[in-house]
Symmetry: C2
Subunit: 242 residues, 2 copies
């Protein structure tokens, strides 16, 4: 049985939600899938300082120290990875999840396959839709961002980050799937570690990218349903399988 999960603690119109939820259930019909309605958050930090620093270093031929806050001296400490705010917090990887939940009110969902239902897709860029996804003993951060990479032409970027190390991230494959109007778009990749910068992943375009016209084709009444699945991929079979 499907049920609502309301993210970001906002009070939403339940009738509208129920209708959207029903429609998302119709599209992603696998029984027992959790549908999470995710409200947008107008982003407060652009361009992010951490990535500006990373980019400058890359140009100088130094590895991007994206996970090294200017004030971090202990290499085991990571800065706040929430892409929404310039947050001065820093701590160990193990406490990132509780920081994101408590300080930034990012909800966490359980389940191998979930449906991420982003509302109000029409809102102007920059806007983010974020949830955490707990699966296979790990936590992942899903970021959908509306951003004007080219002025006047907003695009949507969706990626999944493991709240863990790059070595741990290599053990997983995530899949994002859009399905509506007799069209289907699937993106499959290895998640990046949250120690890499979500902003640079999106800038590089190494994620699911949607033009506004395509996003509208997949949207229903201003909401975009993204099916999410995570699997283990110790032996990466993606290329061999085709």
């Amino acid at each position: 049985m499907l049920f609502f999960t309301q993210c970001f603690g906002a009070v939403l119109d339940l009738i509208h939600l129920r209708f959207q939820h029903y429609k998302a259930k119709r599209v992603f019909s696998a029984a027992g899938q959790l549908v999470c309605v995710v409200n947008p958050t107008h982003s407060l930090k652009y361009a992010p300082t951490c990535c500006a620093a990373a980019q400058a270093s890359t140009e100088q031929g130094i590895l991007p120290p994206c996970h090294h806050h200017e004030a971090v001296h202990d290499p085991q400490l990571v800065p706040c990875t929430c892409p929404l705010f310039s947050c001065p917090w820093e701590g160990h990887l193990e406490v990132v999840v509780s920081h994101l939940r408590q300080t930034h009110r990012i909800n966490i969902l359980q389940g191998a396959e979930i449906v991420f239902l982003a509302t109000d897709m029409h809102l102007p860029a920059p806007t983010d839709w974020i949830i955490m996804h707990s699966c296979l003993g790990h936590q992942f951060l899903l970021v959908l961002r509306k951003r004007e990479k080219y002025e006047g032409h907003p695009q949507f970027f969706a990626t999944m980050m493991l709240i863990g190390t790059p070595t741990q991230a290599n053990n997983f494959t995530y899949r994002l799937e859009l399905n509506r109007n007799q069209r289907r778009l699937k993106w499959e990749a290895t998640p990046r570690s949250i120690l890499e910068c979500v902003d640079s992943v999106i800038s590089d375009g190494d994620c699911l990218v949607l033009n506004t016209s395509l996003a509208q084709l997949f949207s229903d009444n201003g909401s975009l349903a993204i099916g999410i699945a995570i699997t283990t991929s110790k032996v990466h079979s993606s290329e061999a399988e085709m």
Copy 2:
């Protein structure tokens, strides 16, 4: 057993081709798949007159008469549908294939699943890569186009058109698949009829769209391998199946 098919009749370096073919075979490993090396053609007609007319009519609330050439008085005649050239030819649907083969030297491939290997992806926009695909008793036209929709930011657009009527097109589903570097991108949709304008399908963005960065991630040595499959979809099961 895989074998070469050389499109557009160009004389290519066989050793280079064999290497590219081997790599495409490795990625799309299903036995018996045909790999077609497709050379680019620098497009000669932009912006196309037929679609400029269609767009003007749409703005005035009239249905786009994309398949009605100004000089066409017989509604059963269609203009040349080759997206490459402004061609004065017109004829019945049944002879479009032979016109495209003979006049525009567009090659035709047989098989349920083929691999389209587009070379020289670095060439400046506008550039087209085109083949015909014969499958399930019908002929399809695959168009990959590099185009600067936003000045200075070329994108790649890929779509499949049925050389037939819109009613016939509704009976099929086509799938385009990219698979490289532990990333996979799949686009599935109902093909459009060639009586609709390929230029307007691409302008609307209702097709597989790739930013340059994503195209580079999926390219190997300047070539992009696209796996193509066509299935019948009398009862469209795409949305029910998930």
